[in-house]
């Protein structure tokens, strides 16, 4: 915009003033949006950290129990006991509008409602550690699902904040200063023309007076 030539006319001036008004208003709105997004984002980040810590602790426990189970049982036996799951999970994906960012929400349905009835094997040939591992896993699963929701929300918000931040900066540091500069240029030019006009009129008046004087 800086290099384009602009016509120093009144019409252009009005147009630019209108654009400046719109740009300033847009800038203010976007700035507010950015601030609010940021506030929610930081809250989500805090929640994410907390959930991740919980999930990692839970999975560590489950993995520990699982390792012991794998050591006690033969690999074939272990595989066989988990081969056909009794439980199945279906996920319903909704979406929620969060400051005009569509973030997913997850609700899950399990085929088997009873949380104690998830073991897909008979207890006679498996070790107790496997039960413990599965129990730990199933208790951490709810947190894992929430973690997925929160983490996805965080990623989408981060993307949108970046976009908004760029827009705010573009308006603040490029668009608005440019418009102001052009408006100043036009009004200076118009004033200069006005002054030129006045001097010319004075000069003409002087010449006419001189002519009238000479005729007498």
């Amino acid at each position: 915009m800086a290099n384009t030539t602009i016509n120093p006319t009144r019409m252009e001036l009005t147009r630019l003033k209108g654009r400046l008004r719109t740009a300033s208003r847009g800038h203010k709105l976007l700035k507010d949006k950015r601030d609010e997004l940021m506030k929610q984002f930081l809250e989500i980040v805090r929640r994410n950290k907390e959930l991740r810590k919980r999930v990692e602790r839970g999975l560590e426990q489950a993995n520990g129990a699982f390792t012991i189970a794998a050591a006690v049982m033969s690999p074939e036996m272990l595989e066989q006991s988990l081969l056909y799951p009794k439980q199945s999970v279906e996920l319903e994906v909704g979406s929620r509008n969060m400051m005009s960012v569509n973030v997913p929400t997850y609700t899950f349905h399990t085929r088997n409602e009873d949380p104690a009835d998830i073991f897909p094997y008979g207890f006679a040939q498996t070790s107790g550690e496997l039960d413990a591992a599965l129990e730990a896993l199933s208790s951490v699963f709810r947190d894992m699902l929430e973690l997925a929701e929160v983490e996805k929300t965080m990623q989408l918000l981060a993307q949108d904040i970046e976009k908004t931040r760029r827009r705010v900066n573009a308006l603040e540091y490029v668009m608005i200063p440019d418009l102001q500069k052009n408006i100043r240029y036009i009004s200076m030019k118009l004033e200069e023309n006005e002054r030129g006009n006045i001097t010319r009129l004075m000069k003409v008046k002087d010449m006419i007076l001189q002519q009238a004087h000479d005729f007498k």
């Binding site: 999975l59 993995n63 999970v89 599965l134 699902l145 993307q159 970046e162």
Partner: protein, 102 residues
Amino acid sequence: MSKIAVLGDRDSILGFKALGLEVLFAEDRDRAAKELHRLAREEYAIIYITEDLAQTMMADIEKYHDKPAPAVILIPGRSGSLGVAQGALKAAVERAVGADIS
């Protein structure tokens, strides 16, 4: 109805099978990346990946950061937390704020 998949090495994720999740074993990078892209095309809404596997294919995972689905979530594998997920969190914060604030 969407599904949930778990991607990782055999020992880390075998247990998820009992919970009714789709479990896919992938030991090396290329296979895992291929599986990930296939899952993303299909109706999987959440894909969990073990950190061990994820850190070899971060570029593939980051492709899905900006898309509403699927959610690719890192979980610690058998060897415990590697801090890859925390790193990703930090990167997201940095991206949004424009500076490292933690």
